[in-house]
């Protein structure tokens, strides 16, 4: 069975500038794959190369086994790239009808996708009257017209209000559960963290990490707030070893699986330590992202 997305040392150069540098990705069937990167990292250029909109300087791409430009390359692929683009003088429904003719699908599919993105009520209104969120939802509807096996979504929740974002996440999860593979780029790390099975991080055109969200976040630690702290630290070191115990911000940070926290708590109490808080100390994806890309906060795209 062909992999939904397979790239091998995919590269795009604009003169001296290397926008995408030997990117090798593999997206497996049925997974929701996150694609993260700061602004200008080469994320959208990579997605455009996958879809044949931009020609690769070198390397190869295969979507569902087909190379860009080959017949049927995008037959079962839906995409929303860098925001929605539609004809403003047409209604939402007529925009989709135009696209349906290109996609070779019927009018019933137009109604189906309008319903999926909850736009049926406003489908007869001109696109130019739509809010940003409605435009975004119409973009997703267009991507779903062909009942795709692979969906490539570039910032799909842009412009959506919190309820719309939650609906979109639910829709993506549902598509994933129905067997559709989703390649999702997002500037919202929390979003990727919530719905993606695996994540690739791109910086300066190169993939700097690719793994599951859990692997990216690394080892989970346990925070213990206790008094007196020196006695607590001494007891924990005796129990776990000195290299697994650190004192950070007035608390203990233990390299320990959270499942073993109860044993530590028991030993500390037995030693006469007053324990007021024990909880897992997880690195979130944002923290990992900044470490990987060397970026400051607020510049994720």
């Amino acid at each position: 069975m062909s992999l939904p997305v397979e790239t091998d040392r995919l590269t795009k150069r604009y003169g001296e500038l290397v926008a995408v540098d030997e990117v090798t990705l593999t997206v497996r069937p049925g997974e929701i794959y996150g694609f993260l990167g700061p602004n200008g990292a080469g994320k959208t250029t990579t997605l455009r190369m996958l879809l044949g909109l931009v020609r690769a300087s070198s390397g190869s791409v295969r979507l569902l086994g087909s190379a860009p430009g080959s017949p049927g390359h995008l037959e079962r692929v839906g995409a929303l790239i860098e925001g929605p683009g539609f004809w403003p003088y047409l209604s939402g429904r007529d925009n989709l009808k135009v696209l349906a003719r290109y996609a070779k699908v019927g009018a019933s599919d137009v109604d189906r996708v309008l319903d999926l993105v909850d736009l049926t009520d406003r489908a007869g209104d001109r696109y130019r009257t739509y809010s940003l969120g409605m435009k975004q939802r119409l973009g997703v509807a267009a991507a779903l017209l062909k009942d795709p096996r692979l969906l490539i979504l570039d910032e799909p929740t842009n412009g959506l209000d919190p309820a719309g974002m939650a609906d979109m996440r639910a829709l993506i999860r549902k598509l994933g559960a129905d067997g559709c593979t989703v390649l999702l780029s997002s500037h919202l790390l929390s979003e990727v963290q919530q719905i993606c099975d695996r994540v690739a991080v791109i910086a300066k055109g190169r993939i700097v990490a690719e793994s599951t969200v859990a692997e990216l976040r690394g080892d989970v630690r346990v925070k213990v707030v206790a008094d007196p702290l020196p006695l607590a630290a001494e007891t924990a070191r005796a129990l776990l070893g000195a290299d697994k115990v650190a004192v950070e911000d007035g608390a203990l940070a233990l390299d320990l699986e959270p499942a073993h926290a109860g044993r530590v708590n028991r030993e500390l109490v037995t030693a006469g330590v007053n324990v007021t808080e024990i909880r897992p100390l997880e690195r979130d994806l944002e923290q990992v992202f900044f470490e990987l890309t060397g970026q400051g906060e607020g510049n994720v795209g």
Binding site: G78, I81, P84, L90, R101
Partner: protein, 274 residues
């Protein structure tokens, strides 16, 4: 191909700007082919300075020449605008990516656009014939003149020649839109060529410089002018002159059409869609 043509036709028909262009073309044609000359004729009859074209030039038997007379310049400019709008709008609205991610090849989309443009040009030229027929019939009735219509063969020839010229200009518009990835600059440059450069070459440069005169015989505008002239377009109309024979003019216009389409396809196929 049929799906892309149908899709492009839907977009063209629903776009108000295209109908506005057809309306402008008809208004120009009516005003300068029938209303102003007829006002001149009527003025001459009542002692006012007359129009040298005379009443005979406004009657139904002159329908073919009158209907295609504007195509070398003014109506040709309208056709060019239609071509620019059909292709250039996709860049401005970011709809190339929306179209292409539905699966068709670039050339399929381009072919659909050209087919829709060809239909639009046929509607434009046929509208000129229809309104011209109505106007000339009214003038003939008011002036108590016989309703002698051109033969069907002449009408078909005129319609075909007019359509060929209109499609050529529209294809130039499409090419400019692809080359410049937008609407504004192609429109500006296209109009400068149609309305300014062509006139300067014909009225100033060609009479003074021999090689410009020779060059005129190979340019699209003068060949379009020669073609419509051979069909009876009035000599005083801008862009209308018999520089070459109708056979050569037809071949040159058709050659430009093929060249514009081919270069447009080449650029569209090679360039990244960003």
């Amino acid at each position: 191909m049929s799906g892309s043509t149908a899709a492009e036709l839907i977009k063209m028909i629903r776009r108000p700007a295209n109908w506005a262009m057809v309306g402008v073309a008809l208004m120009l044609a009516m005003t300068f082919t029938y209303l102003a000359p007829y006002a001149g004729v009527a003025g001459a009859e009542s002692g006012m300075p007359g129009n040298d074209r005379g009443l005979a030039a406004l009657l139904p038997d002159q329908l073919v020449g009158n209907s295609v007379a504007g195509l070398p310049v003014f109506v040709g400019g309208i056709a060019l605008v239609i071509g620019v709008l059909a292709v250039g709008g996709e860049y401005g609205w970011g709809t190339w990516k929306t179209l292409l991610t539905q699966g068709p090849s670039r050339l399929t989309v381009y072919a659909g656009k050209l087919a829709a443009i060809a239909v639009a040009c046929l509607v434009l030229v046929a509208s000129l014939f229809a309104t011209g027929a109505v106007a000339s019939a009214i003038i003939a009735s008011v002036e108590d003149q016989a309703l002698n219509w051109p033969s069907l063969g002449d009408l078909a020839l005129g319609l075909g020649a007019g359509w060929l010229i209109a499609v050529m200009w529209a294809a130039l518009g499409a090419l400019l839109a692809i080359a410049m990835r937008g609407v504004a600059l192609p429109l500006g440059l296209g109009m400068v060529w149609m309305l300014v450069v062509q006139n300067l070459l014909a009225s100033i440069a060609a009479p003074l410089i021999d090689w410009v005169g020779e060059l005129q015989k190979g340019l699209p505008g003068p060949n379009a002018g020669s073609l419509v002239s051979s069909l009876g377009a009035p000599g005083g109309t801008p862009g209308v002159s018999e520089l070459v024979g109708s056979g050569q003019a037809t071949l040159v216009v058709a050659g430009y059409l093929v060249a514009f389409v081919a270069v447009g396809a080449l650029i569209l196929r090679r360039r990244d869609v960003v």
